[in-house]
């Protein structure tokens, strides 16, 4: 187990290094006038000089790369390539709790939806339910979560005066230090728009595993002992089918953090890293964009590694190998 953990995190570091090199090569290095590229059209000579100094333009590429990483992760004083140059990293760290709240709540909600849905779909499987499970699983993969969120938000905003929808603020964020209730209410709609889709996919995956487990000899043994079908499902089959789900979870949280969740923030006006990234892309603020991408990438890679370790610990079969 210890070797596995070390190897897994070494691989994660390697991936992060590769990604940072790619980001550097794609965004900073190319072209004849990198400073002009980074600062964007219409930059003042002062901004150009500042950007040139910051990124070490003109020095050898490895030095430029090292400088960028130093500004990003060590001194954390990378400044925006627009205007007077606000510091990027504090802005990202300020936005991070919003993004983490969104992701954490969404994961809890979708695991609940997925496990409950998967158990239910296994228990009442048959000609009517099975196609529905398949269909909702496909919809979960095909419907963009940010679009669903935007539609839900628009619907709630137009029916502002109905008693149910007036409960949910449709925009903005409230820190948990100002009351957990208000924090949760601000996030319910974003959570749900992520959780319903992923929950449907997870229910489908879990059902596939559970149906397989129910044919295993240990399930037959449990039934032979006189246990009820629910008990066989919950106490015996679920334990073996939930590990693949956890392994998947890391991958999905990673791609969610670097994908759909970014736009869900934008849609609901949550001031998280996704909104920051969105704004920086729209305004051509290369430095802020590099900062957001690298921090999101680091988060995604670490979460994935952690989930792999957790899945390993959960899966009795993998532990012995």
């Amino acid at each position: 187990m210890a070797t596995f953990v070390v190897r897994r995190f070494a691989a994660a570091l390697l991936l992060l290094f590769a990604v940072s090199v790619v980001v550097f090569l794609v965004l900073v290095a190319p072209g004849a006038h990198p400073a002009t590229r980074i600062a964007g059209p219409g930059a003042t000579p002062r901004t150009l000089t500042r950007v040139g100094q910051l990124f070490g333009i003109g020095r050898p590429l490895p030095v430029q790369y090292a400088l960028l990483m130093e500004h990003l992760f060590v001194t954390r004083d990378l400044t925006s390539s627009l205007g007077t140059g606000r510091e990027v990293v504090p802005e990202i760290l300020h936005a991070a709790p919003v993004t983490l709240s969104l992701l954490a709540g969404a994961v809890v909600a979708w695991m609940l939806v997925g496990v409950a849905g998967g158990l239910l779909a296994t228990r009442i499987r048959g000609r009517v339910v099975d196609p529905l499970v398949v269909l909702s699983g496909v919809a979960g993969a095909a419907v963009p979560a940010y679009w669903l969120g935007a539609v839900v938000r628009t619907a709630v905003a137009t029916h502002r005066h109905s008693p149910v929808s007036s409960l949910f603020p449709v925009s903005g964020y409230s820190s948990p230090s100002h009351g957990v209730g208000s924090w949760a209410l601000h996030l319910v709609l974003p959570w749900l728009s992520l959780a319903i889709l992923y929950g449907a996919v997870y229910a489908r995956v879990l059902r596939r595993g559970l149906v397989g487990s129910l044919d295993e000899p240990y399930a037959t043994t449990a039934r032979a002992k006189g246990l009820g079908e629910w008990r066989v499902l919950l106490r015996h089959a679920l334990r073996c089918s939930v590990a693949p789900l956890v392994a998947r979870l890391g991958l999905d949280v990673a791609s969610l953090a670097g994908g759909a969740a970014l736009l869900v923030e934008v849609v609901f006006g949550l001031p998280g890293v996704g909104s920051l990234l969105y704004e920086s892309v729209r305004r051509g603020d290369t430095a802020t964009m590099i900062g957001c991408v690298m921090y999101v990438a680091a988060f995604a890679v670490v979460v994935h590694a952690l989930a792999d370790v957790a899945a390993r610990a959960l899966d009795p079969g993998a532990r012995r190998v």
Binding site: A11, L14, L15, A18, V19, V22, V23, V26, L27, P30, G31, R37, G40, P131, V134, L135, G137, V138, A139, A141, A142, V143, P144, Y146, W147, L148, A150, V151, R153, T154, A157, T158, V201, R204, V205, L251, A254, S255, A257, G258, G259, A260, L262, L263, V267, L277, Y278, V281, R282, G284, T286, M289, V293, V296, A297, A300, V301, H304, V321
Partner: protein
Amino acid sequence: MSALPAAPAAHPDRAANDPPLAAERPWRDVRRELAHDVSAYLALSAVVLVVAACLLAPLYASRVAHRDPLAANPSGTTIVHGVVTPVLAARHTPTGRSATPIGPTWDLGHYALGADARGRDLLGLLLYAGRTGLLVAGAAALVCVALSALLALLAALLGAFVDGILARVVDVSWAFPAYLLALVLAYSLGIGGLHVGPVDLPRSSLWLPVLVVAVVHVPYVARPVRSLVRALQRREYVRAARRLGASRARVVAREILPSVVVRLLALFPTVVALCLLAETALSVFSVGVRPPEVSWGTMLGSGLVLAPERPGELVASGLLVAATAGSLLLLGSRLSRALDPGVTIRGAS
């Protein structure tokens, strides 16, 4: 793992993690498997319907709408219940003048679904946007599948060392969020276009989203294709060909390639769906398809702005993306189940 008793159907030489492969007459197998598969037919008809509707967009423009859906029409009028109505209603807001486009009239040829912020017929625009979106997604999927197959076959051709490197690279990049990489690439290419050697693409070129979307999905596709190739390499007829003295190149070209091509076709709908979804997200970030080109993604992006007053553009463009991608994913999953139950692409379910 080798100490475990082998499953009865498994070939003794086959590693336990090889995908189970269908028999050697894949076309017949697919036809037989799908002959009574209602969901596959439904998904296929939905895809054909959407593609046909988008292809017929010029017909709609010339015969039904009688104007170019892509041309802005800020001062245009249309007829609603016999009354001449402006397409954009002027409105004064605290930030200045803006206009509310007309909502759905449900009258074919008279802005049936309403107008967008520039007074363009939404229905016609959706059809033309579908052409662009599907073209980009389809081309990206083709490029992506071709690149992946090339990589996997090259690895098979060049032997274990290259194959090992490829496997490592793919395994590592496979877990990285594709959208983040796509965003970085598309942003960078969007600054000045792509000018490398004979390639000279302006920043508004449709080739840029095609290339970006294709490249970031290569690890997704190369991984299953590589395992496919490796499984095929252990097949008896491939080993027999080797023992008969056929060169590696000949074996790859004559024995492996034909089997791979069929199975790539089964993966294709899934890859198109993933590419369509990625293009949509990039366009919402405003670095995918760029104006003056219109795709469902760019419409979804501008629909977000318009949604509080006129949700039509947002709802319709997103529904089309979801329905098309969903049908393609369903079709892809039925096809690959019929062919090779073990080969799946990440993100498809």
